[in-house]
Amino acid sequence: MRLSLGHIAPHGTMLCLLVLFAGCAGIGSRAQVLGTDESQVKLRSIQTRAFDTADKDKMLRTVISTMQDLGFVIQRADDELGSVTGSKFLKNQVLNLTVTVRPRGGAQLLVRANAQYGLVAVEDPESYQDFFDALGKAMFLTAQQVE
């Protein structure tokens, strides 16, 4: 007997729905609104670096070009708020990245990045370190850990 996709697809769809409903997405999913896996303080320290420059526009432009070098397509940018958002497709999932830039004192800028891959927040320090390394190289500045 010839087995075609049509044989398994109806069962497949049903199973898929079952897994979706019964799986992690179903139970207490409203808690995801304020949910994170890391503590607020730790997350900030992972995602934030200080740079010794007060030139916000230059920083924003460098953030944009670094994101492009990383393969992101820029979707939004705002010089007043100091934010840039872009997305990248990776293994059939969407990787979204938002970077914000704000002044810290008169001589420094705080840059914060946060990313989401598919349905999961990116919270591992290495990924953010990679981003800040690339950004620092492009700015000719060193990304400093913020306490």
């Binding site: 007997m1 010839r2 087995l3 075609s4 996709l5 049509g6 044989h7 398994i8 697809a9 109806p10 069962h11 497949g12 199973l15 898929c16 897994v19 979706l20 799986g23 992690c24 997405a25 526009d57 924003l60 432009r61 944009i64 070009s65 492009q68 070098d69 990383l70 393969g71 397509v73 820029i74 979707q75 939004r76 940018a77 705002d78 010089d79 872009g86 997305s87 990248k88 497709f89 990776l90 293994k91 059939n92 999932q93 969407v94 990787l95 990245l97 990045a113 990313a115 891959y117 598919g118 349905l119 999961v120 990116v122 591992d124 290495e126 990924s127 953010y128 990679d130 981003f131 690339a134």
Partner: protein, 183 residues
């Protein structure tokens, strides 16, 4: 055979349902190809007026049927998108054959529901002045999301064909010329 297929599709479902998706390593690391990609996606235009070049870019996007989603002159950013059909004659033919074969075998196939139906194409243009201020660098990136007839996302990709990028810049050269001539 059929016994085999079920656990397989179950496994696929778990993977597709999201919770089990692991985050790949090095997702925010510069790849060795990044310089090459930057070169393919960037051109220099002799101009001291970045705003004028950005205007010309917006003009090209409009020429190509994109509607503008975002623009920030101060940062040199213009983003546009368009929704178009994604129906591919070859794919339709292949799916039709599958359906007929399934019918001959006495079953149904939903292959026709899986063929590409529509797509959203996003174009993002970023300009910046060169270090000496005599030129404006323009970098464009395209990405697209494709849906099948069942309304599911069947493909997401960053467009990487060099000819498409070249085609955009050819039109941009023309647009910059037209803008300069106030046409």
């Amino acid at each position: 055979m059929a016994v085999f297929q079920k656990p397989l599709s179950l496994l696929l479902c778990v993977v597709l349902s999201g919770c089990a998706t692991p985050i790949p390593k090095n997702i925010l690391k510069l790849s060795p190809d990044s310089l090459e990609e930057r070169q393919a996606q960037t051109r220099r235009y002799e101009s001291k007026d970045e705003k004028q070049v950005l205007l010309a870019c917006a003009g090209v996007l409009q020429d190509l049927g994109y509607t503008l989603d975002e623009s920030r002159t101060k940062l040199g950013v213009v983003v546009g998108s368009k929704d178009r059909t994604a129906v591919d004659a070859g794919q339709v033919a292949g799916a039709t054959v599958l359906v007929v074969l399934a019918a001959l075998a006495g079953s149904q196939s939903d292959a026709l529901n899986r063929i590409d139906d529509k797509q959203k194409i996003r174009a993002s243009v970023v300009t910046r002045p060169s270090a000496d201020g005599s030129e404006v660098l323009v970098r464009v990136t395209f990405q697209r999301i494709v849906w099948n007839r069942a309304g599911q996302i069947s493909r997401v990709e960053t467009v990487s064909d060099a000819e498409l990028y070249q085609g955009f810049f050819d039109r941009l050269s023309k647009s910059i010329f037209l803008e300069a001539q106030k046409i």
